[in-house]
């Protein structure tokens, strides 16, 4: 499943070959068989990135069109899901994220530089109670996830919701595996902080016995 995700996604769109109707039908059938069954996880990923149904719709459609144009560079039988997710992530970065960036919004690079700095004296955070988390409703968990900066949110979605391996995530996100690990670690720390706030509102104030603050 890990092989060749980057699979030659060229920088520029290749010109489409002129095909006979029979060739076109064969190509379309192969494309549908390989990719269209992935629309559910792809749409979910798009929605969790954009947090907007219309934007998710557009993003999925654009990604499928791009995948169709680049289909000849995809090696059949390899990791179609990761390939498609990588295209969607690139489209999101290139188009939607730029469009959606609000003035004054925290820049992720700043956040990541801060969290990846060796100088940071990482606090040993008090942890959540398991029963508090089990009592949370889906909206609270989703809100906590949605409140994370998009790059932190992305690694949690890819790892915990979609079950990608670190190696696949590294290729989808075009970052080294070490960065996948550290980003995931930071993302989970931040998510736990958000969940802890909800837990506290629910009246679960106890932390792990003997924990540091």
């Amino acid at each position: 499943m890990n092989e060749n995700i980057e699979n030659n996604i060229p920088e520029e769109e290749p010109p489409l070959k002129v095909l006979t109707p029979k060739e076109k039908k064969e190509r379309d059938d192969a494309f549908e068989k390989e990719f269209l069954h992935l629309i559910n996880p792809l749409y979910n990923f798009a929605y969790r990135l954009t947090l907007d149904e219309d934007d998710a719709n557009d993003l999925v459609q654009d990604s499928y069109l791009k995948a169709y144009r680049f289909f000849d560079s995809f090696e059949r039988g390899t990791n179609a899901k990761a390939w498609l997710f990588r295209i969607l992530k690139n489209s999101f970065i290139n188009e939607y994220r730029r469009k959606a960036k609000e003035p004054g919004k925290v820049d992720y690079q700043d956040v990541e530089s801060y969290y990846n700095s060796d100088d940071i004296d990482e606090p040993i955070t008090s942890d959540l109670r398991v029963d508090a988390m089990r009592d949370m409703i889906g909206d609270e968990v989703a809100n906590a996830l949605n409140a994370l900066a998009v790059d932190f949110r992305t690694v949690i979605i890819l790892c915990d919701l979609e079950g990608f391996t670190y190696e696949e995530m590294s290729k989808i996100l075009n970052i080294p595996i070490g960065t996948v690990r550290s980003r995931l670690h930071r993302a989970r720390m931040l998510l736990k902080e958000k969940l802890r706030t909800y837990a506290s509102k629910m009246g679960y104030n106890d932390t792990l016995e003997g924990e540091f603050e």
Binding site: L16, D121, A142
Partner: protein, 98 residues
């Protein structure tokens, strides 16, 4: 002792000893290994560290339970957004026209 006694007995005998997670470095290492275990990404050395150290440390095991629960809660409580019914047809029809 750690290898033959159940965890709770080991934890009782170790209760006055310093916990694995009582230092920032120990805490960081512990969480790192726990996450690798839960994500199915740990190598043999990390699995062995988990079996020999983390499982015998009460506080580390509590961290393991919390991390495991966070992962499960994300998987179980976040709804899948249903795909709009017309989207698939729209994609097919656009592809057809290319």
């Amino acid at each position: 002792m750690a290898s033959i006694l159940p965890n709770f007995i080991t934890a009782f005998f170790n209760k006055d000893k310093k916990s694995l997670v009582d230092t920032p470095e120990g805490y960081r290492r512990c969480l790192e290994v726990i996450n690798l275990i839960l994500d199915g990404e740990a190598d043999d050395e990390q699995k062995s560290y988990f079996e020999q150290k983390i499982k015998c440390c009460q506080k580390s095991m509590k961290h393991y339970e919390v991390e495991k629960c966070v992962k499960e809660v994300i998987q179980e409580k976040i709804d899948k957004k249903p795909v709009p019914p017309e989207l698939l047809d729209k994609i097919k029809s656009v592809i057809n026209t290319i």
